[in-house]
Symmetry: C3
Subunit: 326 residues, 3 copies
C-alpha cells in the first residue's frame, strides 16, 4: 500500500525510497520504457518560478505517454487563497479547495510548487499550501518543492551519490552552507539531510552556528555532525553539497539574517576549500551563482556533479509518477 | 447551415443549442469518442486570466485529437490593437486584423477571451475585440468569454440544470446578485439569462434595483421576473445561481457602484437564504469568493453544483469544437 | 558538412541557403512530409516577446513529429546571466553556461530569442547571449532573432521574393526605413540586407542618412545603393520592404535618435509612395503599426505580401530544423 501523495521524504522508509531510485536507474539505462500515463492528463501548478523542475516534469510526463498542463498561478490564471474560513476579500480570487475540486475532475494528478513565505517557521513547517491540496484532493499530489520539502530533488541527489560512490552507506558527505545575497528556503537542505541520513551517509553540516538546523524542524539532525568552520571538514570528505539557506534562528528577522551573513562572504566552494577535502566531488541543486556560491574554476572542473543531478531529476520523476499516478 | 462563429447565445435558436448540449452529454457518457480535430491546430488567445476555461479548452482539443496553442496576449506576446483607422502610436504593437490574417494561416480556429473595459456599456455591448476577430477571420471564432457574452459557460449551466432537474422547462431558477469587492463583467449573467429564458426556465433575478438588467442590453429580460429582496424569492426555487455583476445603471461611474454596494454586504448565499428556498441547489460559474459570495457551509454542502458545472465545460466545449471546427 | 548552429545568414553561402529555401518550398507544396523530429524534444527559449516566431516554431516542431517546450526566461523561470567571470550578485540567478548544460541533457536542440540592449553597437554585434549558448552547447542552437540577426525571417523573405518575382537575381528591392515611435533592433534589416545581396537582388536602402548601414557592421552594404529621399526610389522598384530600425550613428544616444526622427514622420508606406514605385509590392516582417509605418489603404491592398512572408516562416523553420536537428 502506498500513500496517496508524494510530499515529503520523511513520510517514507528507506526501502520505499530505494525502490523509487532503482526504478529511476532503470529508466536511465533505457531498460524500462513503459507508458503508464497513456491517456492521462497531469497538471503542473507553479506558485513560483522553475526551470529544471518544470521541464523535467513535462518531459517525464510526455515520455511516459501522458500530457502535462503547466499552469502559472497568478500569471495567466487567478491567485489562489489557501487559508481556511476567512472572508476572501484580498486579491486572491479563488480558494485552493475549489481549484482542487475542479482540477481533479480534469486531471489524474496534481504536481505543485509552492515556496515558503520565510516569515514564521511554524507556518512554513505546516506546509499550508501543499497540505491544503493534499487534504482536499482525491487524486495524488506530487511535491515539486514546497516550503520545507523537495523530495524529488533529494531522490535525484541520493541517486547521484550512489552512481558516484557505488553505494550510500558510510559515504562521507558535507552539506556546506554558502554565502548567498538572498534568503533561500530550507526545502532542499532538509530533504537532502533527511534522505542522506536514511540512506546511511556519514553526514556533516558545515555552516555558521546560526545556520545550524535545529532538531525541532528535522529530527534526523540527531544523526548529523555539525561543524562551524570549513577547516573542520574531514579531509576524506567524498562529496561537498553546496547550498545556501535561511537562518532558522533568525527566521522571522530577515534583516538580521541578511546583514549578519555579510561576514560570511568567504563561504564559497573554491580551490582553497578543495585543499581541505582534496578528493571531494561537488553537488548543488541549481540554480547557483557563479563566483558567489561556487567559483568558475570549481564549477567548470570534473568534480562538479550538478548536471548529473539535474539529469537524474528526469528519471526520478518518471519513477515517482509511475508509482503514484499509474 | 451553421454560422461561422460561436460568439453569443442570442445568435442561435433553442434547437441548435439543445443539439449542442445533447452532444455534450454523449461525450460525458463516453458513448461518443470521435477525433474531429485530428491534425488540426487551434489557438487559444487570452487577453485576460483564466483557469477553468483554459484547461477545459486545452483538454477538449487534445481529447478530440487536435493540438492547442495557448497564447497570452501582452504577456509572452505583443499587445494587440483593435480600434480601426487610428495611427497605432500606443503600446499596442500589432493590430487584430493582422494577427488574424497570420493566425488563420497557421490555425484552423481561434478561441478568444477578451473582457470588457467596464467604462461605456455601449462600447462593451458592441464586443469590439470579438467582432474584430470575427469580421477579419475566415476561420471559426469561438468565444471563451467576451465583454457581454460567455456562451460555453451558459451551455454548461443549462446542461447542469437539465442533469439536476431532468428538464429545463418551468424549472424555477433565481439568478441571485451577490456582493463582491470588485466590479465584475455582465457576460455570465447575460448569457445565462438568455439561455435560461430560451430553454423555458421560470427565471427570477434577485438584485438591488440598480443591478437590474435593462431590456436594452438583453431583450430576454422581458420574460424574467425581477425582485429586489432575497425574502421575495419563491420558496420552491429549485436553483439559486449566485453571481455578482456591475451595475448597468452606474456602468460609467465605477466609484459610485463600488461605494453604493457596501450596504449590500449581506447579499451572500448562506444558510439564512436557504431557509427561504429550502430545496434550492446552488450554482456559480467560478471562481467565487468564500464567505463573501457564498459561505463555506453552503459551498461545502451537497447542494453545491458548481463543480459539476465546471466539469460540464469540458463536454460542452467538445460539442462546440466538434460542431464549428470539424 | 554543415555547421552545428544556425545563427546568422553571413555564416552560409548562397547554395546552402538556397537549398534550405528549396526544402521549405517542398514542405509548402505538401510534397514533402517527413517526421525527422520523432521522439525529439526541442526547447524554445524566449528572452523577449514573440507571436509569429513562437507559434510557427511550435507548429513546425509538432508537424515534424517533435515536441516543443516554450520557456519564457525571467517569467515563469529564472533570469539568466551571460557575462563571464563575474560574481553573480544581480537578479540573474542562473548562468547561461549552466542552463545550457542542463538543457542539452533534456533537449536535442535549443532555439533562442534574445534582443539587443541597444546601448553599445559593439556589444550587440558580438551577440553576447547567442554566442554564449553556441559556445557551451554541444547541441544545435537555432536563432529565433538575436541582437543583429534574424536568419529564419530573412529566408522566409527571400522565399517570398522568389515566389512573387519567380527569381531573386536582379529583382529590384528597396529596403525602406519607416518612422516608428520606438527604437527597433537592426536584426531584420541586416539579415534581409545580407540575404538579398547574396541572392543577387538589386538592393536600394532608402533612409535618412543617420539611418544608413555602415559597412563595419555589415560588409554586404558595399553592394547596396543608398538613397536618402523616397523620391529617389527607382520607379520600377518591384518590392518595397518597409522596416524601421535604430540609427547606427546614434546607437548609444537613444534620446537623440528618438527626438531627431520626429521630423521623419512622413516616412510611411502610403499611396503617395506607391505613385513613385507604382508596381511595387510591400513586404514587412510584422508586427507593424498601421497608419504609422504603413497606411490601412496599402496594408489592406493586394500589394501587401506580409501575410505570405509570415506563412513562409513555418516552412522555412521546418527546413532549418530538418537540416540542423535531424
Amino acid at each position: 500500500m502506498r500513500p496517496k501523495d508524494f510530499i515529503s521524504i520523511s513520510d517514507f522508509d528507506r526501502d520505499f525510497l530505494d525502490d523509487l531510485i532503482t526504478t529511476a536507474a532503470k529508466y536511465k539505462s533505457g531498460k524500462f520504457d513503459n507508458k503508464p500515463l497513456k491517456n492521462k492528463d497531469i497538471a503542473l501548478l507553479f506558485f513560483n518560478p522553475s526551470l529544471r523542475t518544470r521541464i523535467s516534469f513535462e518531459l517525464a510526463i510526455k515520455q511516459l505517454g501522458g500530457s502535462p498542463s503547466t499552469i502559472g498561478v497568478g500569471g495567466q490564471t487567478w491567485n489562489l487563497e489557501w487559508r481556511s474560513g476567512i472572508p476572501m476579500d484580498s486579491d486572491r480570487a479563488e480558494h485552493v479547495i475549489d481549484a482542487v475540486r475542479v482540477l481533479e475532475r480534469y486531471y489524474q494528478a496534481l504536481c505543485i510548487r509552492a515556496f515558503p513565505e520565510l516569515q514564521d517557521i511554524k507556518v512554513d513547517a505546516s506546509e499550508p499550501i501543499l497540505s491544503a491540496f493534499a487534504k482536499h484532493s482525491k487524486n495524488p499530489i506530487i511535491n515539486m518543492e514546497s516550503c520545507i520539502s523537495h523530495p524529488c530533488q533529494a531522490l535525484a541527489d541520493i541517486m547521484t551519490v550512489r552512481e558516484v560512490a557505488g553505494k550510500t552507506n558510510k559515504v562521507k558527505v558535507a552539506l556546506f552552507w554558502t554565502y548567498h545575497p538572498r534568503r533561500l528556503p530550507l526545502a532542499v537542505t532538509l530533504s537532502f539531510l533527511s534522505a542522506a541520513v536514511k540512506f546511511g551517509c556519514d553526514l556533516t553540516v558545515c555552516a555558521p552556528e546560526e545556520y545550524f538546523i535545529p532538531s525541532e524542524i528535522c529530527s534526523e539532525t540527531k544523526k548529523v555532525k555539525f561543524v562551524s568552520n570549513p577547516s573542520d571538514l574531514d579531509k576524506d570528505t567524498q562529496i561537498i553539497y553546496a547550498k545556501s539557506w535561511s537562518s532558522p534562528k533568525l527566521y522571522s528577522q530577515a534583516d538580521q539574517d541578511l546583514s549578519g551573513r555579510q561576514r560570511y562572504k568567504d563561504r564559497i566552494v573554491n580551490s582553497n576549500l578543495l585543499k581541505i577535502a582534496q578528493q571531494a566531488k561537488i553537488m548543488h541543486c541549481m540554480p547557483f551563482r557563479r563566483n558567489v556560491e561556487i567559483t568558475d574554476e570549481v564549477a567548470d572542473s570534473d568534480s562538479n556533479l550538478m548536471y548529473q543531478q539535474a539529469e537524474n531529476r528526469l528519471y526520478v520523476q518518471k519513477a515517482v509518477l509511475n508509482k503514484f499516478v499509474s
